[in-house]
């Protein structure tokens, strides 16, 4: 069977599985729809959380980004795992004890204010929509690369599948499909990783192979060899950073605290039976996430080494098959600046502008010709970062079914995250906006119907974003974390650990954190992009890391304003006492 047919088969089988689960686990009450009935086993919830969490970006792009920036890639590795420690120790058990349906529920009750609830809904919708648009686009891209359908068709197929299980099953359907999706995605990630580790170091465990010697007889470790090869070609050393320490610190902090403030992750901890399960479940979630997150940096190093070995100074006529295949999709390109017929891979941007613009014609050797102007750099090869994971099985010479598996894994990663995000958006609308605020008289059945309708509308909007991506989507996805860190995280943390922070403080804090972070990002990314460099940044902190400062501002304002206004009423004091104790006495 051809790779193409295998890919259709595996992706099709995985879809049949997800839809089957959706029909089996239909939601019959709002409790099923919002929190899966509250009876999910902590291990299952841990897996679902891991799938919910690991998006198309984690699966497809992260190893590639690390591969090209080396040690500084730690901001993603640390930021997207360290947040779970905060989640497990500071938020999850207490939110589970509170035990309602949504994050705005908690903010609204703890700060005894519908205004606070609406501010939380606003933050939630903003954070979740920017994030979900990227996921739908990811589904479309995986489809177009592996199944050779248009991105638009891919998005529509993805929408239809998410529609089935998110609208029918709500949180209950999503939870069980996410468990299945986790299994698919982790298997798809590990198989090529194990093979490439064996190929380069003879060690089957990527985390160990990462530190082992290269099996080419040079007696150098992977990282020594990589550092050596990269400096020879004019790149920075892989094991040294090039970002400033303060910026690495700020970005890591923004990603960590943002992780702990993301509504679609937090809401997963409402679905376990009790407080101790919420703690345990966060631990399992991090184990399942860490399997991928400790493999990714190893894959990144192996793939970079392998890429240089197979591409640099190789005559184009002898280029490996994967190079030409991915050239056809536009993810790699070659411009023979010195007309020697060989591909020189060096530091610096090969093309100007950096993305390849193909003329449609082919050169003598069969390469796709480019209309980009050549740059001064001796580099002749354009390589998209996503290639590291997508082409890994081919680079490692693995059979077709592994390639098909990676396609199914990429789709699983994107769909699971999209579904989780759509659910928190729809429950914020049907529960917080309608039931709790605008139309409190509606019955449970009407609320359930509203939740389904909201999910359906949200799927369609997300699909539209995927088909017609606003230019800013790709850039803002990373900022969802900064916004979550600066708006929701402090309000949640203070709501549990402080008895004196009140309604006025929380609202002022959330709004100022959100506004400050949003304004800083818009200023440097969209209004004045020419000023977006270290000497213009506030204390050398880039827009990616500014959420950390926004968070501190939120904390400071919330505490200060609370100090000068009336303390929370007695019933709120009792609520705080209550959520701090696991027992339901």
């Amino acid at each position: 069977m051809s790779t193409q047919a295998l890919t259709y088969l595996l992706v099709g089988l995985s879809f049949a599985l997800y839809i089957g689960i959706a029909i089996w686990s239909r939601a019959s009450s709002t409790k099923d729809f919002y929190i899966a009935g509250g009876g999910i086993h902590p291990v299952a919830n841990g897996m679902a959380t891991a799938a919910d969490w690991m998006s198309a970006a984690s699966f497809i792009s992260m190893a590639g980004i690390i591969s090209f920036i080396g040690r500084d890639g730690s901001v993603y590795l640390l930021g997207w795992t360290g947040g779970y420690v905060l989640l497990a120790l500071l938020l999850a058990p207490y939110l589970r004890k509170f035990g309602r349906f949504t994050i705005p529920d908690f903010i609204g009750e703890r700060y005894y204010s519908q205004t606070a609830r609406m501010v939380a809904v606003l933050c939630l919708i903003f954070v979740s929509f920017t994030y979900v648009a990227g996921q739908m686009r990811g589904v479309g891209i995986v489809f177009s690369r592996f199944l050779e359908v248009e991105v638009e068709t891919g998005v529509i197929i993805g929408m239809a599948v998410v529609f089935m299980y998110a609208v029918l099953g709500g949180m209950k359907g999503i939870t069980y499909t996410q468990v299945a999706q986790y299994c698919v995605l982790i298997f798809a990630y590990m198989v090529p990783a194990i093979f490439i580790s064996l190929m380069i170091t003879d060690n089957p465990i990527p985390q160990l192979g990462f530190g082992a010697e290269v099996n080419d007889g040079s007696q150098q470790s992977v990282l020594q060899k990589l550092d050596g090869v990269l400096t020879e070609l004019g790149f920075d050393r892989y094991t040294e950073g090039s970002k400033s320490t303060i910026d690495v610190f700020a970005i890591t902090a923004a990603l960590m605290f943002g992780t702990a403030g993301l509504p679609h992750v937090l809401v997963r901890f409402f679905t376990v039976p009790k407080v101790s399960d919420a703690r345990l479940s966060a631990g399992y979630a991090l184990v399942f996430i860490a399997i991928l997150y400790t493999t990714a940096p190893a894959v990144a190093a192996f793939a970079r080494l392998n890429l240089i070995d197979t591409v640099d100074n190789t005559p184009y006529a002898e280029a490996p098959a994967w190079f030409r295949q991915w050239e056809d999709t536009g993810l790699v390109a070659w411009q023979d600046k010195n007309a020697d017929g060989r591909m020189q891979y060096r530091a610096g941007s090969a093309l100007s502008p950096t993305k390849p613009a193909f003329t449609g014609a082919r050169g003598e050797l069969g390469e796709r010709l480019l209309s980009n102007a050549p740059t001064d750099s001796a580099n002749e090869v354009y390589i998209d970062r996503d290639i590291i994971v997508l082409a890994n099985p081919e680079i490692a010479g693995l059979p077709g079914w592994v390639i098909a598996l990676v396609a199914a894994g990429g789709v699983a990663a994107a769909l699971s995250t999209a579904a989780g995000l759509l659910l928190v958006i729809s429950s914020a609308i049907s529960h917080d906006l309608l039931k709790q605020t605008l139309m409190p008289q509606i019955s449970e059945q009407q609320e359930l119907l509203a939740a389904r309708l909201a999910a359906a509308v949200a799927v369609c909007i997300a699909g539209l974003f995927g088909i017609y991506p606003p230019a800013f989507v790709a850039q803002v996805v990373a900022f969802a974390f900064g916004l979550a860190a600066a708006s929701l995280f402090p309000a949640l943390l203070l709501g549990i650990f402080s008895t004196s922070v009140n309604r006025e403080g929380a609202i002022a804090g959330m709004l100022s954190g959100l506004t400050f972070t949003f304004a800083y990002i818009v200023y440097f990314k969209f209004a004045m992009p020419q000023l977006n460099s270290a000497e213009h940044w506030l204390w050398g902190i880039s827009p990616e890391g500014i959420g950390a400062l926004g968070m501190l501002l939120n904390f400071a304002i919330a505490i200060l304003v609370s100090h000068f206004s009336a303390p929370p009423p007695n019933d709120v004091q009792e609520l705080i006492e209550n959520i701090r104790i696991p027992a339901s006495k």
């Binding site: 120790l89 058990p93 004890k97 309602r100 320490t245 991090l286 860490a290 696991p582």
Partner: protein
């Protein structure tokens, strides 16, 4: 819910919880922001199983420590829950209001 002795017990439970959090979060801070970011260049002079030590923390070690921290937390909290008699029961907890 509040006879004075129970209130005192809840208060002591909360203080024990906060002190556990302080210890665990200091380790969390030291491995992530410390070993992986602030002291990474200094640690790189040591070698650890084929890695420079600082680089290893940044790309592998910190994540492993995070996992261990959460399980220590669940284990210690379970002990505190029963010590102060505030453990959650197996049936579904009732709503608060």
């Amino acid at each position: 819910m509040s006879n004075p002795s129970q209130k005192k017990q809840h208060h002591d439970y909360w203080r024990a919880n906060l002190s556990l959090l302080a210890k665990l979060l200091s380790i969390w801070f030291m491995v992530s922001f410390g070993c992986s970011i602030l002291w990474v260049d200094w640690l790189d002079q040591f070698s650890f199983y084929g890695f420079k030590l600082g680089f290893w923390f940044a790309h592998q070690g910190a994540i492993l420590v995070f996992v261990v921290l959460i399980f220590i937390y669940t284990w210690r909290m379970k002990a505190l829950d029963s010590q102060f008699d505030v453990a959650d029961s197996d049936d579904h907890p009732e709503k608060i209001s």
